[in-house]
Each structure stands twice: as structure tokens, then as C-alpha cells.
Symmetry: C2
Subunit: 431 residues, 2 copies
């Protein structure tokens, strides 16, 4: 029987979930893997507060495990694996670095700290012969990190895209099903604890962009930094656009999209219409799903719980077991530079289809004028819908384009004569 001593940095929802899982599955892990896993120390902000919170959650963590000093976890000689559950970039990244410097394996689900400090953390890990695991950092329990790092290591991946933020997927799903506006559903999600009191990281797409930077780096074998990712959130989405999209056969999702062709790379997070029969269109609520396409594997989809304490704990404990049994840590096999990989040319002129909603004066010749703007930029229209005005002076005009260059679409929209119509919404269409 191998003894494994863990240190926790933080003990919130996820940390509590991991503690509970290890307690419940301790006997099984001993039987299956000959591992006796013991939590040695847990860093908390305030011991008294932590005791109260744990008690309220029915989590029985002995007081002597708790500490307010990070060194008790990151430098304790008895601890071999440090599990980071603090969230946010700092001090989490600094503490992980300290643990790695002390030769401890680190397991984390923290996409922010990882996406922003990956090069540094990996270098420190390599220097000290320590391992760094982060399966739960993207897509919760979805096994995408191991799939990219191991299963597809010999393949050439050219596309990774998917629903990688549960909060926005929950909000968009409810907006679509109930016809409600963004603000109403957001408030309800906050009340239910499914959105943060400050929801910016989720609804403005930052969380998805951190995750996409990790996925794209692994898939394309070169560093794609957070800053390289084009980002639009869902705060500007109205119930109206979701309804018009539905009428035209599309479902709205916040997607993270990474594509590579030759050395040209595009990475973007934005609301996206998908055909109703697209496999991602049916992925609702807190589910996440990730599509991968490669030269040899062709298309693959992985779907599962992207959030929730116990699913995430399951992924983290998979990492903990691997770390415990690990004799030779392995690292992603690309030059993990602090800057974007010099081998990639990043483009903001990707090919896309677009849903465009205009508000137009209800007069003869307007449609012709609008059509001319698209034609001049060689943007071809796939379908069009004009709604009758409902007591308004202006009428909604909705176009869905054929694939075109992003910048050509933007130039076409800039050509619109503001005296006869205004741009109300532009949403990209995939699939």
C-alpha cells in the first residue's frame, strides 16, 4: 500500500467535493490502486469561517487540517501532491509555482491561473521534475485534456470548438425555451447560484477564452495565449434574435472556436448560431461539449458536465490518482513560450457565415440598397426574412450569409446607409 499525502490550497465547492469523494472512495482506491490517500493540510483564508462553512455543508474536516499559511501546504515535507482550488490568477499561480519548486506534483482546475502562467508553471515543473495536471480546467469532467495530450498525440488536429462555459449555456438555453430576456434569466441564475454575483467572467466570454487558449495550445502544439483570442460575450443578445434564429432553423450557443490551416490560426469566443440538427445544438443547460476534428481521427465529440462540484471532483481525483502513481511526469509536447507561438500566424479575417439583423425604413428601394452593400464586398446572401412592422416606423430585415471573410462582412455593414437602415445585431453562424 502506497501512502499519498495531499495538501489543498482552498476548500470551496470544488475542494469540498474532492475531500468528500476521497473520503467516500478511500476504500476503493486502496483496493483498486493500492493507494492510501490522506489530506494532510488545507489552506483557508480564515479557519473559523471555514469551519462554519464546512459544517453548513455537512463536510467534516478536522480543525487541525486547516491552516492560514500557504507554506504549510506548498513547503510541507510530508506532502507530495498539492491540489489547487482557489480560483483566480493570484495568489493561486504563485502558490502552485512554490509547490512545484519544492518538487511537489500539482493538480489544478484553475484555467485562469494556468492560461496566464502556463509557460512559467511548466518550466518550473520540468526543472524540479514535478508533474502538472489540469484535466478539470476545461470542460469539467470532459476528458479533453488527456484526449488531446495522449489519444491524439500522433494526429494533426485542425479544429476544436465547443460549448465550454456552463453558465452562459444555461442562460441561453432558458432564454430560448422561455423567450425571456437576458437580464431576467441572469437574475434568476444568480438567485439559483448558477451565475456569480459578478457574472462578467462568464457572460463576457473570459472564462471560455481562458479555456480555449488551453485547448488550442494543446491541439495545435504551440502556445495560443489568452490575449490572442477574439472575444464577444452574450450580454448584447436579445430574446428577439434568439426567436428569429429559431424561426430560421438555428439555435444560439456561446462557442469557443479554434481552427488551424497550414500555419494560420484563428481563435474566437462569441455567440454562434448552429443549425438545429447540429449535435451541439441539443447540448443544453450546464452540459459542456467539445468537437475535435483531425486529419486522421476525423470528427469526435466529447460531452459531459462542465461544472458542478462532484463531476469536477471526479476529474480532479483521476488526476490525483495518476499523479500518485506517476514515476516520470510528462509535459505537453510543444515549446511552451510566454508569447504566442512564432510558428502561428493569427488571423482575425476568418471565414464565417453571419446572421445580420437590420432595422430598415419601410420604403421602396431599401432592400436593393442593402443588397448592394453586400454585393460590393462579395458577401453572398443565403437566406433573408423581412418581418412586417408592428406599429413601428422601421421593419426588421434579417439576412443569413453564405461563408465570407469576417472583414468583408464588416466592410459590407459599414457601407450601410444609416439614413435608411441601422445594424441591430450580427451573430456568426457555424456548422
Amino acid at each position: 500500500m502506497q501512502q499519498v499525502s495531499l495538501g489543498f490550497l482552498g476548500c470551496g465547492n470544488i475542494g469540498g467535493g474532492v475531500y468528500r469523494l476521497l473520503e467516500e472512495m478511500g476504500g476503493e482506491l486502496a483496493r483498486r490502486d493500492h493507494l492510501q490517500v490522506r489530506v494532510e493540510k488545507i489552506l483557508v483564508k480564515n479557519i473559523e469561517e471555514a469551519l462554519q462553512i464546512n459544517a453548513a455543508k455537512g463536510l467534516n474536516v478536522p480543525r487541525e487540517l486547516l491552516t492560514e499559511k500557504a507554506e504549510d501546504v506548498t513547503s510541507a515535507p510530508g506532502i507530495s501532491i498539492v491540489c489547487e482550488f482557489m480560483g483566480g490568477e493570484q495568489p493561486a499561480a504563485r502558490f502552485m509555482e512554490q509547490a512545484l519548486q519544492n518538487g511537489k506534483h500539482v493538480v489544478t482546475a484553475n484555467k485562469v491561473a494556468l492560461a496566464l502562467n502556463w509557460d512559467r508553471l511548466q518550466r518550473t515543473a520540468e526543472e524540479h521534475h514535478a508533474g502538472l495536471w489540469y484535466e478539470a480546467s476545461v470542460g469539467g469532467v470532459i476528458p479533453v485534456i488527456r484526449v488531446l495530450n495522449r489519444n491524439l498525440e500522433a494526429d494533426e488536429i485542425d479544429r476544436v470548438f465547443g460549448i465550454i462555459n456552463g453558465t452562459t449555456n444555461y442562460i441561453l438555453t432558458r432564454m430560448a425555451k422561455e423567450g425571456k430576456d437576458y437580464e431576467d434569466v441572469l437574475k434568476d441564475a444568480q438567485r439559483l447560484g448558477l451565475a456569480e454575483p459578478n457574472p462578467a467572467a462568464d457572460v463576457e466570454g473570459m472564462d471560455a477564452a481562458y479555456k480555449l487558449s488551453i485547448l488550442a495550445s494543446l491541439a495545435f502544439h504551440g502556445r495560443v495565449t489568452y490575449q490572442q483570442i477574439y472575444r464577444e460575450g452574450i450580454t448584447g443578445i436579445s430574446a428577439k434574435d434568439i426567436a428569429f434564429g429559431q424561426e430560421m432553423g438555428y439555435t444560439l450557443k456561446l462557442l469557443g472556436i479554434a481552427k488551424k490551416q497550414g500555419s494560420t490560426v484563428e481563435t474566437r469566443v462569441h455567440p454562434t448560431f448552429l443549425p438545429k440538427d447540429h449535435p451541439l445544438a441539443g447540448v443544453d443547460g450546464s452540459l459542456n461539449a467539445i468537437f475535435i476534428h483531425g486529419k486522421y481521427c476525423r470528427d469526435m465529440m466529447l460531452q459531459g458536465r462542465g461544472a458542478g462540484d462532484m463531476p469536477t471532483a471526479s476529474a480532479i481525483c483521476g488526476d490525483i490518482v495518476e499523479a500518485a502513481l506517476c514515476t516520470e511526469p510528462s509535459y505537453p509536447t510543444f515549446d511552451n513560450t510566454p508569447e504566442p507561438s512564432p510558428e502561428f500566424q493569427f488571423t482575425d479575417n476568418w471565414m464565417t457565415r453571419a446572421y445580420i439583423r437590420l432595422s430598415a425604413v419601410d420604403a421602396p428601394g431599401v432592400l436593393q440598397k442593402v443588397s448592394e452593400c453586400f454585393a460590393l464586398e462579395s458577401v453572398s446572401i443565403a437566406s433573408m426574412m423581412q418581418k412586417e412592422a408592428e406599429g413601428e416606423e422601421r421593419v426588421p430585415l434579417i439576412f443569413i450569409t453564405h461563408p465570407a471573410h469576417e472583414q468583408a462582412i464588416r466592410r459590407a455593414l459599414e457601407r450601410l446607409d444609416r439614413n435608411v437602415c441601422s445594424l441591430e445585431q450580427m451573430i456568426r453562424v457555424e456548422g
Copy 2:
């Protein structure tokens, strides 16, 4: 740069695909993983024949790599990884055992040889400190083996089920879309090379049962042998039942299903109706998809190409890279006995819903008599459909039951009075 020398046992479609992938990706593997992978020897039945077949496929394998003697691969001192592509139980299993005895890592996609000789192969591997990889043995490129072995190692899996045979999925998809009968579609699939000249292994569910025995063993951490798996193929399925099912909102798939509750285990392969909006219902053609449910991870779905030379080659080459970099082989963490695990109670009295088609005399009182048979065995009817007779004496009566014990359903069907009705079809319903 690490030199890796491979030996191939066989060089058919899959072996040829692996050879091609390694040739095309050689530079990348050197760059990414500092591996120089070289194929040293290839066992073929007949060298002249193999040269002709390879030439016809445009595969440029030098004559000096080919051999007709297995020992040139399994015993060659220079070869560190043996890749088995022969298919079938023997001599593949024997050759793999020889390679393992010589301390060579073995990579295989051969579910038959593995399912029937797993205990022996694993024991030999452990004794000689060699590794055994088989990601491509189930679901082609779907990463289910690593997900069960690594990602979910700390979880408690209670259900694994899915579409794990591409040939039957292709046949059922076409039967449903074209309304054609089994024999017609099978002939066409054979003509297109999508079904074997002798299709028994696929259409009678053996292939799926081999795979399910591997999945269930890994998921439940105990040996589930092939013999423990209840098996029904698709040869008795008529276009009529697919059409009636569709009318009632169901899609027909051949599923492998493994469930565990406490120590009770059920494993079965049979045609299964799924609600049309079930995520597996839309998995068509040669796609495979596997559902996993666990206590902590909850529900997860993995989908991808279950067959095809290059997708399978991608999975195999992922294994080859892992084997090449491996310093400490790991094995499934359960007592890999030749017999079914003594910790499991296998049951054939699972809970299921059922689609039942009867052919009944068109006379008063028949429906009451039939209903009584079900009621006497406490099988409750969820929906019923009676079709008008079309120039026949007897009418089709279709029932879909609520969940009931398999044996109760069978007893109810035995109670039917053969003078007034006959059982034409019974298909289980999931989801």
C-alpha cells in the same frame, strides 16, 4: 532523439493505415516527442501477395521489411513495440503473448483476442514488465479505454452503454431511412465493403459483445467475460418494426449495455429502441458513441469514428507514442481473472421496457385477453397501437411497456393464447 523500433503482426487495412500515418507524421513525432519511429519488420502470410496488395493501395513498404515468420517480429532483439493487426483470436493472442514474454510492449486493436485472453495477456505483461495498450479495440478512435482507466479511475461507474458496432449501425440507419429490409441493405453494405462477406460477427452482435466485455470489466473493476454477455443480433429485424417504432417516436440501434447496482451486473447486446430525441438516436452510419454514467461524473458521452483505417490508426499511434515514452507500464486495476469476477452477481432479469408486436385475430375480446396476460405478470402498458388489417386475417397489435423485469415480460408473452395471437417481435426500449 529516442529511436523506437516497431514490429507489425499483419499489415491489412489497419496496419497499412498505421504505416502510412507514421510515414506522414514522422517529422512531427520527432519534433513533438523527440521520437524517431521506425517499422523494422512486418509479418505477412505471403510476401508476394502482400507486395501486390500494398502496391494496389499505393503503400510503399520495402520488401526487406516483410517476413513470413512470426519470430522475426515477436523475438527480434531490436524491436521494442509489437503492433498486432491480424484480427481474430488465434494466432494473434499467441503471438502477442510471445512478444510480451520477450519484454516487448504490445499495442493491439484486436477485441476478440483481448476479450478472450485478457487475463493471460495481462499476467504475461506484468511478469515481463511489458505494457499492453488497446485503446483502438473498442469504438475505434473514441477514447473510452483511457477515460475509464485514467479519467474515471476514482469514480464509481454504474452504467456504460452505446453503439459500438459500425456495420450494424450503418445497416439499421439505412433500413430506417430507406424503408428497406435487412437482407437488401446487407447485400449493398457487402458490395460497398462496409460489411464482411461473412457478416456473422457483426450482425449477430459478437463483435459488440467482445467490446462490451472489455468496457464492462474496466468500468466495474472486475472481469466480465464474453460468455456472460446476453446477445441478440439484428438479423431478425424487419423494416416493418423499424417503421412502427418510428411512428411511435423511437429509433432502432444495436446497443451494448452494461449496468451495475451493488454487486449485481447485467451485460447485454441487443437491438434497442431509443426515443428519437435521445443523443444516441442521432448517431448514424459508421459513427460509434458511448455513454458513461457514474456516481460523481454523472453522464458523459463520447462519440467518434468507430471504424475506418485512418481513425483507428490515429488511436493506435496514440498508444504507440505512449508505449514509446512509457517508463513504467500500468495495468487495469482489478483482479484480472480468467473466470467472471466472483464479486459480481450476473443477472438475466434486468429491468427494461419492451416493444412487443403481436399478430392477432381481428375479433372482439382479443385485446382484453392479451391485456390480461400482461396484467397477470404485473407488466404495465405505456402505449398501444393497433393497425387495421390490410387484406389479412390478422392485425398487428403493438405495445410498449413500462419498465418491468425481463423475465416477467417473457412470462407474460408465454401466457399469450396462440389461438388468438402470436408473438412476432420483442425489442427492448431504453432511455
